[in-house]
């Protein structure tokens, strides 16, 4: 992976970082790296995530999915970190003529109904993922999916694989029905679990080389170093942190690749849940190049200077030639390719942001392939951990979501929670 932070320097952008501030920051990076390395060494909660590429056993995953040979579809039932990593990897590696990967990560009744009515249930593998085995949305959907399979005369026990903790209702279910079951790794928050069974099972069922994904992650681990000038992941994390400190309160993640659209969602969870605490934390905004040039670029260039724009692309790809045309206004496109056009737009957008003084960073992969996506996920995780060290927050927890969970459970009659009472006391001022 290659990170170019030139357009985030104060000589180009405002906010931007001065060269001497960058050198001072690098001393803090060295200290943070030491903390991270020690945490990894001790397998401490959270830091252990950065050991996954070495720790995850691809053979165990292949063995668990071995009963499922070339199904028509794969359905992941999970939410948040139990869904986004898997969706990111299969989207990045997507090929023609492979079983589609569908995800139920919401409890929208119409969406669940349409998904179940569209999928060939008798030939669909269900991957249900919840560490606790009690995540409300996931278990509600799984109960609905299981009933639909029973109603369709399908033996769900032959088509279900479970990834869960060492105990809990899903583990018990797997034991009872002898389902293939994998374990959510200990010490790893959901949003950091992409490079484990949580993220790799659907890609493995599709026949992708998950060992190569892990190898890409190991490349990332080997690239960690005690200076941001030697480590692309840290260069990104440190820059994003420094720009946030200087007023770039929004981090726009804008890959120039449709296959990385889900990656931007995955990153948004990683960044927001890890760093959004104590009244601080950059807000991730998901964008897609070149499409969002026709949607968000006006704001990025001419709006407030409160953004870092992160541009991601692959450096090598198969192109699709654009046919010649006799329309004069379009003649310049003839003989080029869609990829060439996309690259020109990438560089033009990058330069246009710089010309407007908007800080931006370029991230490049050689290719979006198994090793490439493994590396990208690992490096973004390492960048997040580093940014958390620099910001001095508890990177690996998400306490603020508990309030709403208790309120919802109370509203549904699942216990006596004072948070549920606050719902009834809502202040209203309605216009209709």
């Amino acid at each position: 992976m290659r990170v170019d932070i030139g357009n985030a320097l104060a000589s180009v952008a405002d906010p931007g970082i001065e060269r001497d501030a960058l050198d001072a920051l690098d001393e803090r990076v060295a200290a943070a790296h030491e903390t991270i390395a020690a945490g990894r060494e001790d397998g401490e909660f959270g830091y252990a995530s950065l050991n996954l590429p070495h720790r995850t056993d691809p053979e165990a995953i292949y063995a668990a999915v071995e009963p499922f040979e070339d199904p028509a579809a794969i359905l992941t039932v999970g939410i948040g970190g139990s869904a986004l990593g898997a969706a990111t990897i299969t989207a990045a590696l997507s090929e023609d003529d492979e079983p589609g990967h569908f995800v139920l990560d919401n409890v929208d009744p119409e969406h669940t109904r349409q998904t179940l009515s569209t999928l060939p249930l008798s030939d669909t593998v269900v991957h249900v993922v919840s560490r606790s085995g009690t995540t409300a949305e996931t278990l509600a959907n799984f109960l609905v999916v299981r009933e639909a399979m029973v109603d369709a005369g399908v033996d769900w026990t032959e088509q279900t694989v479970v990834t869960t903790g060492d105990s809990g209702p899903l583990r018990a279910l797997a034991d009872e029905h002898d389902l293939p079951a994998l374990t959510v790794p200990e010490g790893v928050p959901g949003r950091f679990s992409a490079l484990s069974a949580v993220g790799l099972v659907p890609a493995a069922i599709q026949g992708h080389d998950i060992e190569a994904v892990l190898a890409g992650g190991r490349d990332g681990a080997e690239s960690l170093a005690d200076s941001l000038f030697d480590c692309p992941a840290y260069a990104y994390g440190a820059l994003a942190y420094a720009l946030d400190q200087r007023g770039a309160s929004i981090d726009v993640m804008m890959p120039y690749a449709e296959s990385l659209e889900v990656f931007a969602e995955w990153f948004a969870q990683l960044w927001a849940e890890s760093l959004g605490k104590d009244g601080e934390g950059q807000t991730p905004a998901r964008a897609l190049g070149a499409t969002d040039q026709h949607s968000q670029l006006q704001l990025y260039r001419a709006g407030p200077h409160d953004k870092l724009v992160t541009l991601v692309r692959e450096r090598e790809r198969e192109d699709v030639p654009i046919p010649e045309t006799d329309v004069e206004d379009l003649a310049y496109l003839g003989g080029t390719g869609l990829g060439e056009l996309l690259d020109a737009e990438f560089e033009a957008t990058e330069a246009s942001l710089a010309a407007a003084g908007v800080p931006n960073v370029r991230i490049e992969l050689d290719r979006i392939d198994a090793a490439g996506i493994g590396r990208l996920l690992y490096d973004m995780e390492a960048a997040t951990v580093l940014a958390g060290e620099l910001a001095d927050v508890d990177t690996f927890v998400q306490p603020a979501v508990e309030w709403g969970k208790r309120a919802a459970r109370g509203l549904l009659g699942g216990g006596d929670f004072e948070e549920a009472d606050a719902v009834a006391d809502k202040t209203t001022l309605t216009v209709e």
Copy 2:
């Protein structure tokens, strides 16, 4: 449509708006409404958008698509405002067993290739949309699509409908090949064109009641009034503006409905491109409930108070029952439904944001149906126009994107543009 701004009052949230400030703001709303009404009356550029529900002729659209009876798929080729409105409407109205609506709104070669290899070209209707007929991405894709159809032995002239301006290469193409052709309305920026042929053609081909979509829009038009307390669209626009002034520089659009996920993208363009200028403009962030409770909510609650969170839902829907289970921890879910769970989470999240002092607004539709989506789109457009009046910006232009367009064209050899030279002069500081 119903808008509840109670949780954006200063008594609940910080930033929040005081009741007397709201009354003062309402006087400015009255003046802005007068400007908007006069602009509509005169059919002025931009303001004319708010006349579309009365001006668009559904019969002309039905006539244009009449040759296409129940195709296997519809492929829209367009970008930005030429794609998002159509995608929003078909996603909102999505039903089982209707032709799928696919969109090429990017120039990612792998994505275009996969799309074309997946679609049954001999039974796919192509809707190509560009006002000028020269939009680089759209025309490049269309040239590729057309060649793929020719290569597949398909007569593309029998399966293509064009929506474009009164002149230009696409209009000439339509004339030459006698293609069904519709007109992009004059005086309407692309992002405001959903309630015209630009947004309605794919839904019409699918057999949806586009007259009902327009009727929903007319309901919105009739609801415009000279006070924010009488007009939900203005209540939303005025509140978002006032909160931006008070430090909520981000507007999170978070529908609790999968079928409105594209709506959030459409809104993001509308809001960003209209209001992002002169160093001002709230940044739209796209979210999805309940999914993003497991991704973004930690940040929304515990991060900086720089956000307005806009929660959208429908009030009536078919539910899907959650089967009973003997797992004790999940017993509370049995006998409820996915929709009931989703609603509990909506209200719990809303209350949890209020409890943290984070301003939020509730928008409710009766149903996400043809009239409902027409109303929602119209009201959000009116809210945007009002916010633009209050912020005193040129709502209907997007000059900042031209720089990059010239640079890209120059890079591709399409002329001599100084912006292209800046690309070569990039400041680099690379870490790998």
